[in-house]
Amino acid sequence: MKFNLIDAVLEQSHDRIVAIKQVSLAEEYLADHFPSFPVLPGVLMVETMVQAARRLLSDRGETRLVLGEIKGLKFGSFVRPGETLAVDVTVTGSKDGTYQCRGKGRVLRHDGSRSDETAVSGRFTMRPIRRVLPG
């Protein structure tokens, strides 16, 4: 599968980014997740937030940071084909090349139904790639 999940950036400042991922039946993995009930996999919501954070941090000169840690990340509403996941990620701190982030993803719908549902929310950290275990 193609693995660039950010379809558009809506807002960006020094420590905050808002970006979207469209969900479409054209995406092949939906055939498996799940047959007869296609929904965006939770880990792809996480990946969307990670890619948004990576983009934000690369503008600070930190390229190719990866996900290091997650704490208390919850999943809420499903995101279905025809709907959009809008992620809002803020960098809350940094220490020794590791960045702490907080992210939230909302479901956007085009049918006019409730637009304030949270699909995903939680905290994560971004760090440089490691080929071997530290220490």
Binding site: P41, V50, G76, I129, P134
Partner: protein
């Protein structure tokens, strides 16, 4: 492409533990985007951490589902904690070990260890820990709309259970 992020079940102790492995290969399309060549940077295929979490979720999800004969709709509800200490690269194999910590009508909690190895070495090193919380979609209080039928455990499950000699775990009507 298939949304199947484990290749083989190595061990299943019902109600307790499951171990699965996944081979990482350059044949996997997503590695060509993660990461693609960019300006002066060369392409650098790195297995995405989010897919490590999915591999653990599939391993733990089957363990949890098996504990109730795959009658429940086992949905990943919360990543309590995930720590990944180093990356995985093409040519390496990932090992997921999931342990069932709690199970009740509303859902289940699992604790997991992720390890990696070079194909030839046979030596595993622990690279991360992933602890997950699943809800049983019909019984829990999460209130999300789910279909009547069990959409979670389908054909892919049968295939992977069959190859581990565990096809007997899946009943007739599901």
């Amino acid at each position: 492409m298939r949304w199947m992020w484990i290749d083989q079940i190595i061990e299943l102790v019902p109600g307790e533990r499951m171990v699965a492995i996944k081979n990482v290969s350059l044949a996997e399309e997503h590695l060509h985007d993660h990461f693609a060549a960019d300006g002066e940077l060369d392409a650098l295929p790195v297995y995405p951490a989010s897919l490590l979490i999915e591999g653990m979720a599939q391993t733990a999800g089957i363990l949890v589902g098996a504990a109730r004969d795959f009658k429940e709709k086992v949905i990943l509800a919360k990543i309590m904690r995930a720590v990944i200490d180093c990356e995985v690269f093409p040519g390496q194999t990932i090992r997921y070990e999931a342990n069932l910590e709690h199970l009740d009508t509303a859902g289940a909690a699992t604790k997991g260890v992720v390890s990696r190895t070079e194909a030839a070495s046979g030596q595993w090193e622990v690279i991360g820990h992933i602890d997950l919380l699943f809800s049983h979609a019909d019984q829990s209080m999460t209130g999300v709309d789910v279909p009547e039928h069990n959409f979670v455990f389908g054909e892919n499950l049968k295939i992977i259970l069959q190859s581990a000699g565990l096809a007997g775990m899946v009943g007739g009507d599901r």
